[in-house]
Amino acid sequence: MDLDFANLMAEQIAAAMKGKKISPAELGDTLFRRSTRAQKELNLFISFDQKHIAGEIKRIEQHLPDKNCSLLGVPLALADNIATDDQKTTCASRFMAAYQPPFTARVVSQLKENGALLIGKTNLEEFNLGCSGGSSFFNSVKNPWDLECSAGSGAAAAVASGLATLALASDTRGELRQAASYCGVLALKPTYGRISRKGLIDIASSLEQIGILGRCTSDLAIALQVLAVPEPDNPSTLQIEAPPYASLLEKPEENFKIAVPTCWNEASHLQDEVKNDFQEQLENLDKLGLEVNFVTLPHFKDASLVATMICAVEAFSNLSNMDGVRFGHRETGKHLQEMYIETRSRGFSSKLKKFITFGGLTSTPKYYDTFFRRGQKLRTLISRELESCLAENDLLLTPTTPFKAPSFAAPVSGKEFPDPAGYYTAAANLSGFPALSFPLFYEGRLPGNLQFIAPRKHEAALLQIASLLEKEFSSHRPKFALSLQEV
């Protein structure tokens, strides 16, 4: 093959496909070979097979004459909590291990209609519960930069290793961005409701949003354009047309006013490396002529705890349909009650069971006011603080995670409550504001990250700042985390 899709942007792949510079059949073969290899190294997929990839290639060949396919032949990875009617959707849970949805998520149809090629369904924590490992029925995903470390998610690993150009995964308390941070890729969590959640198996409906992973800003912009189409029959989505992201990127806004919360360095487990990198980046932004202000957001630090509590209550309720009556795993019991208990005891990981038990407790009348109602009030407060800060500033800047990809041997988080990985990310879920994680690369070290949060509906500002930084950092773009090119 003359061109290796892994080195190309989505736009270039689509052009090469249209210009017949990439043969679909060869693309399919390469993808399957590399996926097999990556799977062996990283355990990033739950479902992928030659037959499905062949089916995808056939479908794309039918699309070839259609000149409007902006994602023609673009390899896509999909987190396994987003429904597909032709492949199992397991949410990495034993309970769901054989679940075949009778429908496909709207986002998947949108991308496929635009020519995207679905490689397979990627591994994640059970029901996307955090990024810290230990709950997937299909085991953890290894980080392509360091196999001893966690990748956070298969979707992020697929993009980092050059297998997928784009990936979709969900973000409940920051999972999408945290995994992007560990794997050194871009992540965009759009405004709540900007992208359809139809077909997403969500653990916490009010927090969770599907987001996009990619290697360059332009790819994110193209994907967002395809996905951000209002859904008139779904009142939980934004009913406004999205702006033309790609053309906004051509003339980027350069006078961003950026706010940094003074509590940015108060995160528990904040690594010196992350702290130093962040400080260095603040100086860089200054050199670029951007105005950086420190702001006080008194409740920003509580976001992770509040989001965890709300997430647990919603998870308790959202996962109550997993009872063994209509689908999924079922154990036998002497009566209905026993069947429920056996089914759910064996169908869920102990980590998930602890979490939903916490949610069940938090919403009992006894604790409702003390915890849940107070949490709801704090949620409003955190959102208001963010909103007034972003009325004065264009963007809020923090690191994405307080630490880099945690090693399997000494995981930073997972036992602690709330998960310290969510310190910076959870506020965007509570408020529904869009956020973007931007990767920073260093020679011989794991990638680092910056997180930008924009006001509601201002995804364009996030793409513009990312595009600006991308140009600055273009010289130190690294090679892929995993060398799959020879495969």
């Binding site: 909590n81 987003i82 429904a83 959707t89 949410c91 769901m96 679940y99 949805p101 009778p102 429908f103 998520a105 959640r197 139809k198 077909g199 997403l200 198996i201 969500d202 916490a204 409906s205 009010s206 029959d233 779904n234 009142p235 939980s236 209550v313 919603e314 308790f316 309720s317 996962l319 109550s320 349909n321 997993m322 009872d323 009556v325 209509r326 689908f327 999924g328 209905l336 009650q337 429920y340 069940g360 919403s363 009992t364 009348p365 409702y368 849940f372 709801q376």
Partner: protein, 481 residues
């Protein structure tokens, strides 16, 4: 032996007459093949989508709350009631817990010539669960099937205050409620199809006391009669326990129609926790003043005010007014017939005896009646004008009822017009007198009954078509001579 007073509160679930379910586009039609009116959402499948609130359902519920004189919340919330049961696909029911649509309403009932007000605690919207189909008895069924066609069908729940004290009051309240809901057209209220379901909370207290005793909840009463009998039985059961010095166990009980007893289903010793919290997929909904006004203006005249109006405007006895307003359709029928025939009491008599009599015999409803109100009015006019006799009119009406034909057509076709020609009648009268000398003699010896016999003979000869008044007069005149 102490005397007890029963305290009864009702919880009534009513299916709203919307074409589609509360949060998805599935049909709500009754009687379809099980599990054919379902989608990923109402089946509770993972990733099955987010709820889209059926505005019509809210409209109907608002109409209900207004018709029941409730105070309306300016903003309502939808909340999740979390519990596990095989008929509950999502593992929670979306209902209204924190801010229900209506509160503090009332309905009046007429009992023993008095009007009594029964408080409505609240009116709220919720989704129905699926339907369990047991193999025989619920307690001994080896396995059960579930039909999810009913899952997520919109309901209003109407919770009364514990203001009722006898089975009769409970039955009257439920009938009045049903009648009101039928008037406003929000539900078909068919107890046998489950579109109106009633649970009763029953407790006893010493007569004169203000406190509340331990209550039981009674379920599975599928007719008005069952409500009456179930409550009656439960009061008797609790009375027996208390009189023997025992204690009532707080529990849910099941009315068994066949054996006529209530059976314990489950104890309620531990307060159930449903972990209510606001549904994160449904934002609060504003109920604006304008919307309330709009809905209020769409509410037709309700049974109470129609009842009063019938008595005042048409001079009807309260019994007639009660019968005629018992359903919206019957009241409408009466008033439409009245447009043609302006004798309210005469018309009322005819409807109550003849029309309702035939409907009853044929087990039919007024909406199925083939006789047009206008035609009934005309029939009564024909009697008053002397074209036909009242007796012939009944025969004509029977045919109208069976065929829906106009009275004039039937009379003409069968030649039933009344004979009011004096010459014709006189001839017949003379014949009858000649044929029955015995009766003539009886009459003259003071036996008045003989006149009736002779009238009957004339009517027989004329196949009932003779004008009875004229026959009477002619006979008396002839007999004088």
């Amino acid at each position: 032996m102490s005397t007890f007073e029963a305290v009864i509160g009702l919880e009534v679930h009513v299916e709203l007459l919307t074409a589609t379910k509360l949060f998805c586009g599935c049909s709500t039609a009754f009687g379809a093949t099980p599990n054919t009116q379902v989608c990923p959402f109402c089946l509770g499948l993972p990733g099955g989508g987010t709820p889209v609130l059926n505005k019509r359902a809210v409209e109907y519920a608002l109409k209900t709350a207004l018709a029941l004189n409730c105070q309306i919340s300016p903003e309502i919330t939808f909340d999740r009631k979390n519990y596990f049961y095989a008929d509950l696909p999502k593992g929670y029911q979306t209902t209204q817990h924190f801010q229900p649509l209506g509160k503090k309403g009332y309905l009046t009932i007429n009992i023993k010539e008095e009007t009594k007000r029964i408080g409505i605690h609240q009116v709220h919207i919720e989704e129905d669960a699926g339907k369990m189909v047991h193999m025989g008895d619920i307690l001994s069924t080896p396995f059960s099937r579930v039909d999810f066609n009913r899952a997520s069908v919109p309901l209003v729940e109407i919770v009364s205050e514990p203001d009722m004290h006898t089975p009769e009051e409970a039955r009257l309240f439920l009938q009045k409620l049903r009648n009101t809901l039928l008037y406003i057209g929000v539900s078909d209220c068919k107890m046998e199809e489950g579109s109106l379901r009633c649970d009763a909370n029953i407790s006893l207290r010493p007569l004169g006391s203000k406190g509340l005793g331990v209550k039981t909840e009674l379920k599975n009463m599928n007719s008005f009669r069952a409500v009456y009998r179930g409550i009656e039985h439960e009061i008797e059961r609790q009375t027996r326990i208390l009189q023997e010095g025992g204690e009532v166990t707080p529990q849910t009980r099941h009315w068994d129609e066949e054996t006529g007893v209530t059976k314990a289903m489950r104890d309620k010793l531990v307060a159930e926790s449903y972990r209510y919290f606001p549904d994160p997929t449904l934002p609060p909904l504003k109920i604006s003043e304008e919307w309330q006004m709009e809905i209020r203006s769409s509410i037709p005249e309700l049974p109470d005010s129609r009842y009063t109006r019938f008595i005042q405007d048409y001079n009807l006895p309260s019994y007639d007014a009660d019968v005629l307003t018992a359903s919206r359709e019957l009241g409408d029928y009466y008033e439409r017939a009245l447009d043609t025939y302006r004798e309210p009491k005469n018309l009322s008599n005819w409807i109550m005896s003849e029309l309702l009599g035939l409907l009853n015999t044929h087990n039919m409803d007024i909406v199925d009646c083939k006789v047009k109100p206008h035609d009934l009015g005309n029939l009564l006019k024909l009697i008053d004008e002397g074209t036909i006799s009242g007796r012939i009119a009944k025969t004509v009406f029977e045919e109208m009822f069976a065929t829906g034909k106009k009275p004039e057509a039937i009379i003409k076709k069968k030649g039933l017009t009344q004979i009011s020609d004096e010459g014709t009648l006189l001839k017949i009268v003379e014949e009858i007198l000649a044929d029955n000398p015995g009766s003539v003699e009886d009459y003259h010896s003071g036996k008045d009954r003989a006149l009736g016999f002779l009238v009957g003979q004339v009517m027989k000869k004329t196949k009932g078509q003779a004008n009875p008044q004229m026959v009477n007069e002619l006979l008396r005149e002839k007999l004088k001579k």
